[in-house]
Symmetry: C2
Subunit: 402 residues, 2 copies
């Protein structure tokens, strides 16, 4: 029996594998040392925001025997979240519609378990967050990619409408959008809501909008973020504190049902059962829920991210790159000077500048820079970006020579 393979088939495996292979590439895991400029992931490279460690340590002291007992969404956490959502979005969320999760990805997993059956189709936008496709596939549903308009980075509404079938159960949108940095306007969201409402009516059953708002508080230039949830009743809002606090290994977020959602009692039950009946996977640790009232007002310094964006965008443009200035998120998208970005990304790495190749997020020909690098890395990287561009240009010239 020892020669027999473990796995019979695996669309989910196939969807997750490219990311795993990228992560396992040794040159990426070796990106350490004083000279490295690490722009690969939205990961912290400096201390957490002031007050974070104190809040965690305070919440670590048991104040009663049930402090570390089994926890669902605690009443204090639900109240804190609904108050924050009302204040920030102007939408009257109810505490009973808030389900504490381990971030936005965990909220998506719970929504998929509660609402999506095998064979259902779930639409997501390309370029996507790393694991939308594989998460849909692990839920045994069918991932349906739809492109964005590459001039505006807005959803291609016509392509989206054309992709809807009688099996479409949900559409995932993400605003502010990783990796393009686009914030969807009220106008775009109204169009989106319009086609989802029409298609739902034609279907005879609702198409859900899964709204991934992990970056809703990382917004630049004094822009205003509008939640898609304000535009469409069959909406589920997903949020993560891991971005706002820049502590993604300490997982907490939530799923919130739109207050305009019809028949919410039934849906609340379905969400609660999926969360517990699925193994209580999606509930944050007791400590994180205890710390939430202290953590809710904390944030990374968004103005500093904005200044880093401006420094890098200016320098890259000066050295001949097409760099896209994001409206929000941690990320800046840059067009690779070579059509295939992979060798160019390796060339940057040879200059100690590590970026994310676009193909990993469905955008071949681009690379992604995370603004969570330090100011020092941002400044030091400019020489590397400049030299890589020069070598690339020389390489092209030398190739052209007979």
């Amino acid at each position: 029996m020892s020669e027999r393979p473990h796995l019979r088939r695996g669309p989910a495996l196939a969807a997750a594998r490219p990311h795993a292979e990228f992560l396992a590439t040794s040159s990426w895991s070796r990106r350490t040392g004083d000279r490295v400029c690490d722009f690969v992931f939205g990961d912290p490279q400096e201390s957490p925001p002031d007050g974070f460690v104190e809040a965690i340590q305070r919440a670590g002291a048991a104040r009663d025997p049930s402090w570390f007992a089994y926890k669902g969404s605690t009443p204090v956490a639900r109240e804190t979240v609904s108050e924050s959502l009302r204040r920030r979005l102007g939408v009257p969320f109810e505490p009973a519609d808030v389900f504490m999760t381990r971030g936005a990805s965990s909220a998506l997993a719970i929504a998929l378990a509660a609402l999506v059956e095998p064979g259902d189709e779930v639409i997501f936008l390309m370029p996507p967050w790393f694991f939308y496709e594989s998460m849909i596939a692990y839920a045994r549903a069918v991932p349906v990619p739809v492109g964005v308009d590459m001039r505006t980075f807005d959803p291609d509404i016509e392509a989206l409408e054309a992709a809807i079938t009688s099996r479409t159960r949900a559409v995932i949108v993400n605003t502010p959008h990783n990796p393009t940095g686009r914030i969807y306007s009220d106008c775009v969201l109204t169009d989106l809501a319009g086609i989802l409402s029409s298609a739902s009516a034609a279907h005879g059953s609702p198409i859900y909008l899964f709204s991934d708002e992990a970056y809703s508080r990382i917004v630049f230039d004094g822009r205003r973020f509008t939640s898609p949830v304000a535009h469409y009743p069959y909406s589920l809002l997903f949020y993560s504190y891991g971005k706002t606090l820049l502590t993604p290994g300490q997982r907490m977020g939530y799923l919130a049902l739109a207050p305009t959602m019809p028949a919410r009692a039934e849906l609340r039950e379905a969400i609660a059962l999926a969360q517990f009946g699925g193994g209580a996977l999606g509930v944050p640790d007791a400590l994180m829920q205890h710390a939430l009232p202290d953590l809710e007002p904390l944030s990374v310094d968004v103005r500093r991210l904005e200044r880093r964006r401006d420094l890098l965008a200016g320098a890259l443009q000066e050295h001949g790159y097409e760099a896209h200035r994001p409206e929000g998120t941690f990320y800046m998208l840059v067009k690779s000077p070579a059509a295939d970005e992979a060798p160019f990304v390796d060339l940057l790495a040879a200059h100690n500048v590590y970026v994310l190749p676009g193909r990993i997020v469905g955008l071949p020909g681009y690379f992604r820079i995370s603004l969570t690098a330090t100011d020092d890395m941002a400044e030091r990287s400019i020489v590397g970006f400049s030299e890589a561009m020069r070598e690339h240009a020389n390489g092209r010239r030398s190739v052209r020579r007979p």
Copy 2:
């Protein structure tokens, strides 16, 4: 559209609902106050073990910028676990075969995602842990219950063999067993391994043994715990620190592949992809992994649980109950004096003694006592158990009278 139901069908929903309804029953959620004796769940009613809060708070202080960054299974955590498993079980687990999870239920969810396809059958033993059936159903697989021998509480090996079909993908066992307190002997495990090996060979593909060992360190009377993983190569071990530390709201555990498992490289990849591609749901918080080397040697006072078991078992037998003395776990199973235990459980509650009705865990006619209650509750409860028995007997007499 507002009248349209959200849900189309739901075997998973149906499997999870009875537990949710029980949890929502107001008399259970009202079990507070000085006079209450709460034996319902394996939840803490006293302070965590000495050293727990200190370990958590120490791990809460960021020692480097990546302290709270995205985390997979950290090398230190994997090393700590494999060393503990080697020492406690005498089985040479490799660090690379250890995957940190959010407890045993989270390990089960990952194993289901990695190895089980829709339509596959997964066998579990009745009486089961609360959510085996619903977790299998949420994985879109088919839950197949098989009874235990009610005299010994060992698996009914013949019934298990008869339940295996060509669609059987895995069998879940739990030793020490919640709620019977049974520890499976080497002899039972050898028989189990024998039928699984034969059936796998007949199938042409392995049937996996999912071994839930959440209570492996809560063992009484100097008994020895043997892991099923030592008996059968296609075994995945699930563990939770939430029982040993009695802090189930602060979730950490692991999934470990048997070192005798053939073709482990392929399976390691499948587990890692399910864990990340499924949304990184199953990875414990950074803080818990940092704290693990300090937490690993800590434990609830098992001798004290044993004394509480003896006090309660003796008193219950004295007052006419059939109480089963567990070999391990937090739980003691008691036969209800009435064939339908539900009204008797309500009668106990009227005397401020709260226990878990057996029907919730597939054992109608029984109730379950959690030994995690305080010594004071255990002592105070004896009057309530005694009076409920007396009233039940009087009630029966009065019913018999014309």
